[in-house]
């Protein structure tokens, strides 16, 4: 009986999300985040027309506003670390042996030469800045169109998200400029079931304005919902690790 009620509630929940674009967006973002705290290894591959660079990063996040990223490879980059606490980003440079605060003017700079910026690390929220609308839906997939809210701090004209109808698993996010030209595409693949969410293990960011510029992020050794000591998010951890 309890099982039937649970299924009924789940069905109600999904049908409610289907009729409410905001709820659909939330479900998609929840899947994308994986939910809760995480410890993981991230393989970051930065492709350019003339070269390709591979990074190995250790990531610790409380699932909210705080995250610590340490570069483990390649050797010449190893030791660098990045600490995000809300909108503040601190950088540890092992060559200088100094911790630097990233100024606002540096937030658009490329993170490790990839197609991600430091602003992307500070997690701009699609739910906060946009108004979603379901523009297409069939039995398998749906498309959400996100329009920026008035005075929202986003330079994009619109964002489209494609997701599976079942479980609202994110497939692709495309960012458009204000002239309806696609400028950035994020594609998700290889999903893992984590805390009831379909977490995309592989994410590919493609710069559509510069052909051949592509960044691929692949998570491994991930553990969600683990307890992370608060000491992992202070300056000592930035230097010594966590």
């Amino acid at each position: 009986m309890k099982g039937k009620i649970l299924l009924l509630l789940l069905g109600l929940s999904l049908s409610s999300a289907a009729s409410d674009p905001q709820a659909v967006l939330k479900a998609i973002v929840d899947n994308q985040r994986g939910g809760g705290s995480v410890r993981a290894t991230l393989n970051l591959s930065v492709a350019r027309t003339d070269r390709q660079t591979q990074y190995v990063l250790d990531i610790v996040s409380d699932g909210n506003e705080r995250a610590l990223i340490q570069v483990k490879a390649p050797p010449r980059e190893a030791g660098q670390a990045f600490l995000r606490d809300g909108d503040n980003i601190l950088i540890y440079n092992p060559t200088l042996k100094r911790v630097l605060r990233l100024p606002p003017s540096g937030r658009s700079d490329s993170f490790l030469g990839s197609d991600l910026s430091y602003s992307d690390l500070s997690g701009r929220d699609l739910q906060r800045d946009y108004t979603p609308k379901i523009t297409a839906e069939d039995a398998n997939n749906l498309t959400l169109e996100l329009t920026p809210q008035p005075s929202a701090p986003t330079p994009y004209g619109k964002v489209t998200i494609q997701a599976k109808v079942k479980g609202y698993v994110p497939l692709e996010v495309t960012f458009f400029d204000q002239r309806s030209q696609a400028v950035k595409k994020v594609t998700f693949a290889q999903y893992a079931e984590v805390n009831g969410h379909s977490f995309p293990v592989q994410t590919t960011v493609e710069d559509l304005l510069h052909s051949g510029n592509r960044t691929t992020l692949v998570y491994s050794d991930y553990k969600f919902g683990v307890s992370i000591p608060s000491g992992c998010f202070d300056q000592r951890a930035l230097v010594a690790g966590c």
């Binding site: 809300g86 606002p104 008035p150 330079p155 304005l209």
Partner: protein
């Protein structure tokens, strides 16, 4: 030639008689004297006008730049002058009424300047944003007058950008840019609609202007007041009125006029003035040579007359002194006439924008100087001294050339001279 019916009043050898003799000689040769006076008057007028235009142009560049880059005068905290950060902003604006009551202050307008990062979908640019009162800013700045596309701000949520900055961001009118900042309120962001493009021709303005609503600037920075109060002061009175404003300000606040605000530009102009001074001196030397050549021709024409004077007992030294005095008298009269004409013309051009339209003909190259299309001449008593250098030089050259010739004069030979 000495008029036969006019006897010499005193002994030609008397030193005291020389000035009177020289003075009378001037009017015995009216045409020649008129020519000499006209040459000197022209040189004086040109010198006064040269410096008036030169200094006026520099002042116009300074004032024009002030009305783009700063204001005729600015009030800020002394700490802000050293460290321009909103954290060093004005503690309150209670002094505004006292400042507005100072004679010469036509407007006092609060501003809030802070560092920002502007983002478009394609790129990002660091800049200095200025929060302004859209209704008042045009009283202290020419930037609102240079919005060539779109319009001035009307409300929060809008931004006016320099044209080059907008091009670098690849943002068009009506599109949104994101402004990020970090000040007293912590990290803040806002999406702003681009409503106006500034095209002043001045690189610093066109590539650096970011105007947003003052209220929104306060919200983004967390500063409730302003970082500065910009003052509108009549041209030429900036230093004097700024001193008067300083007297009514509470401790810890500083009023700075245009020359203090644009220190680098002022320094450049002063360095340039040194070069111009040399050019002015060369100009004076040529004017003095023109006077000397006129005196020399006059001496050559009057050789027989000098022969008669020498035969009557006037020594060559006295003759040389007389010639020099004649040159000094004529140049002094020309100097006085030139001063009247020069200062008169300068006054006219100091009150009417005669030069602006003339220089505007040079187009974009001229526009980059930031005079805003208005150029007025300057006035200074020192121009009279600069022009007087022509007289001094003329006197020196007269001693060196025509008077020296007189020293070698032989009365008998001179009487036989054909000229």
């Amino acid at each position: 030639m000495v008029h036969p019916s006019t006897p010499l009043p005193i002994s030609p050898s008397s030193l005291a008689a020389l000035p009177r003799l020289a003075w009378r000689n001037l009017w015995r040769h009216r045409q020649r004297t008129f020519l000499l006076v006209a040459v000197v008057a022209y040189a004086t007028l040109a010198t006064v006008l040269f410096w008036g235009v030169q200094d006026g142009f520099n002042q116009s560049v300074l004032n024009g730049n002030a009305r783009y880059l700063a204001a005729p005068a600015l009030i800020s905290t002394t700490a802000y002058a050293d460290d321009p950060d909103p954290a060093q902003g004005l503690p309150n604006l209670d002094f505004l009424k006292r400042v507005q009551a100072v004679p010469g202050v036509r407007a006092a307008v609060p501003r809030l300047e802070f560092s920002v990062l502007l983002r478009s979908p394609y790129t990002a640019q660091a800049a200095q944003a200025r929060g302004v009162d859209p209704a008042l800013e045009s009283k202290v700045s020419d930037i609102p007058l240079r919005i060539k596309e779109g319009r001035m701000l009307e409300r929060a949520g809008e931004v006016v950008l320099g044209k080059e900055l907008a091009q670098r961001l690849d943002t068009r009118l009506g599109e949104r840019v994101v402004l990020d900042t970090s000040a007293l309120a912590g990290s803040q962001s806002a999406g702003l609609r681009l409503v106006g493009l500034v095209d002043s021709g001045l690189a610093a303005v066109d590539s650096g202007t970011v105007l947003i609503d003052l209220g929104q600037a306060r919200q983004l920075t967390g500063l409730k007041t302003a970082t500065q109060v910009a003052l509108d002061i009549p041209r030429g009175q900036e230093a004097q009125v700024t001193r008067a404003v300083q007297a009514v300000l509470p401790p810890g606040l500083r009023a700075a006029d245009v020359t203090q605000l644009l220190g680098a530009l002022t320094q450049t102009i002063n360095q340039k003035r040194g070069t111009i001074f040399v050019i002015g001196l060369i100009f004076s030397i040529f004017a003095a040579l023109a006077v000397t050549s006129t005196v020399l021709v006059s001496v050559l024409e009057r050789t027989r007359e000098f022969g008669v004077m020498g035969a009557l007992g006037m020594s060559p030294l006295r003759l040389a002194q007389m010639i020099t005095l004649e040159a000094v008298f004529a140049t002094t009269i020309g100097w006085a006439v030139g001063l009247v004409l020069g200062y008169g013309l300068n006054t006219w051009m100091a009150n009417y924008n005669v030069l602006g339209p003339v220089f505007a003909g040079y187009g974009g190259a001229f526009q980059t100087l930031g005079t805003g299309g208005e150029i007025y001449t300057a006035q200074s008593p020192v121009y009279a001294l600069y022009a007087a250098s022509t007289i001094v030089l003329a006197a020196l050259f007269s001693i060196l050339i025509p008077a020296r010739r007189m020293l070698q004069l032989e009365p008998a030979g001179a009487l036989r001279a054909e000229v």
